[in-house]
């Protein structure tokens, strides 16, 4: 790729980044353009992924090689599109029921083995005799905290009995464990978003250099100018404001 295209890319990336950040000040046409562009580009990206990773290698090439069995899922998949034609939209049920049946059949054993049995096993196993003799007091204490917390959280979600007395106390303890989980999850999410933010600032810094002809500064300046002009252009006369 030529240097010109790389510089142009830098301008595009810096421009789109600043357009999207401009929403932090207020909604504006540049943000809306970038937002719609993102929607289209996202769909385009998935489309080309489907084209080169599914339709060509898994449908087109097998068909050319004489494997006509791929026509079955292709036709079932195409039935989904009949949703757009109300008179024959019922045909889409063939595709949907296949997907739902397969998905449900798959999810039951997987959920039982990973989310149910393994979680219960992970809570109980530290208390097995072999583990206790091997582990130390700290690990045993931690395992006890996990087990007690886990049972208390389950009490919180258990609605078949009224929450009073010991059950209420247990479910209250469960809330604290849930809060610790939500707090940690929130902290992790914040850090994830901030690492993306650093990445964008890093790119903006890169595109502000001489190689990219100071793209970041030029676009940022133009945006500031736009907002100043827009402010005076859309400002209502003082008399009108008073009358209102």
């Amino acid at each position: 790729m030529s240097e010109t295209m790389m510089i142009f890319g830098g301008w595009v990336a810096a421009g789109l980044t600043i357009f999207l950040f401009s929403f932090l000040y207020k909604d504006n046409p540049f943000f809306k353009i970038a937002e719609h562009l993102y929607l289209g580009a996202g769909m385009g990206w998935v489309f080309q992924t489907m084209l080169f990773q599914t339709w060509i290698p898994k449908v087109w090439e097998p068909l050319r090689a004489g494997d006509y069995y791929v026509l079955i899922p292709s036709l079932l998949g195409l039935t989904l599109v009949t949703q757009f034609f109300p008179k024959i939209s019922w045909v889409s049920r063939y595709g949907f029921t296949f997907i739902m049946g397969y998905g449900s059949g798959l999810v039951i054993p997987l959920t039982i083995s990973t989310d149910l049995m393994k979680q219960i096993g992970g809570t109980i196993s530290p208390f097995m005799v072999s583990e206790i003799t091997r582990g130390n007091a700290t690990s045993l204490l931690n395992a006890a905290i996990v087990a007690i917390g886990f049972i208390c959280v389950l009490f919180y979600f258990f609605f078949s009995v009224e929450h009073k007395g010991v059950i209420k106390k247990a479910s209250n303890v469960g809330i604290y464990f849930l809060m610790l989980y939500f707090g940690a999850a929130f902290g992790n999410t914040v850090m994830g978003r901030f690492s993306l933010l650093y990445g964008r600032f890093d790119d903006l810094y890169k595109y502000s250099g001489e190689r990219f002809h100071y793209a970041t500064f030029v676009i940022l300046g133009a945006m500031v100018l736009y907002f100043i002009v827009d402010h005076f252009r859309t400002r209502k006369p003082a008399v009108e404001e008073e009358a209102a």
Partner: protein, 222 residues
């Protein structure tokens, strides 16, 4: 007509669901082959299911442009973005790089899609912080626990936070990273397991209801 419109689709769901379920518990060569074929079919169908979303989006924005509703001009950029990714991809046969050089698709991904998606999600950082300011007003002990857990995780993951911790609480000889690790390994696991258990039971029950045709909302109305 009810047979074609309702009973056969439900039978497909039941048979496919039961067969898939049984393959996990009856591990034979036939089960393996069945799952392999079904995975391939599922992939192909997912590709066509994507078309459903794509056409829906296109119809929606095409109609906006056709009826010239407020802001219809922006809808044009949905198509611009779409073709800006698809045309170079077709020209470069889905490859992002040819040797050390970026292809048109690679260029689009790096300077268009990556810049847009990275910024779109990073903007949320500002909103999360402003929301947190309002949400974290400590009104109860439980809200206090939530706040402390979030604060420790945030402080423990940035060098500045670690430096502050060392300066203020260095005398305790307990590092903030150790606390974060303990938090993630012990109490957070307890809370997460409880939620996972609830999700698992709910998921299994819903899946069984779908297989046996009790839950059929996804089929739409007759």
């Amino acid at each position: 007509m009810t047979l074609i419109k309702k009973h056969i689709p439900l039978a497909i769901c039941f048979i496919v669901g039961l067969l898939t379920l049984s393959t996990y518990y009856i591990p034979t060569k036939a089960s393996e082959n069945y799952i392999e074929v079904m995975n391939k079919w599922e992939n192909i169908m997912a590709g066509f299911a994507f078309l459903l979303g794509l056409f829906s989006l296109f119809f929606s924005h095409y109609n906006k442009m056709k009826r010239k509703v407020d802001g219809w001009g922006y809808s044009l950029f949905v198509f611009v973005g779409f073709f800006a990714m698809v045309i170079p991809s077709v020209l470069s046969h889905g490859r992002q790089m040819v040797g050390p050089d970026l292809t048109g698709l690679g260029w689009g991904y790096r300077f268009l899609f990556n810049a847009l998606s990275g910024t779109m999600f990073s903007v949320l950082a500002f909103y999360i912080v402003s929301t947190a300011y309002r949400a974290f007003r400590i009104k109860s002990a439980q809200a206090g626990v939530l706040f402390v857990a979030a604060l420790i995780v945030i402080v423990g993951k940035v060098p500045l936070g670690q430096m502050i911790w060392e300066t203020v609480l260095g005398w305790t000889h307990v590092g903030v990273t150790d606390i974060v690790q303990w938090l993630m390994d012990v109490p957070v696991v307890a809370g997460k397991r409880g939620i996972l258990m609830g999700l698992a039971i709910g998921g299994i029950v819903t899946a069984l209801k779908i297989v046996f045709g009790i839950e059929r909302q996804y089929m739409g109305k007759d």
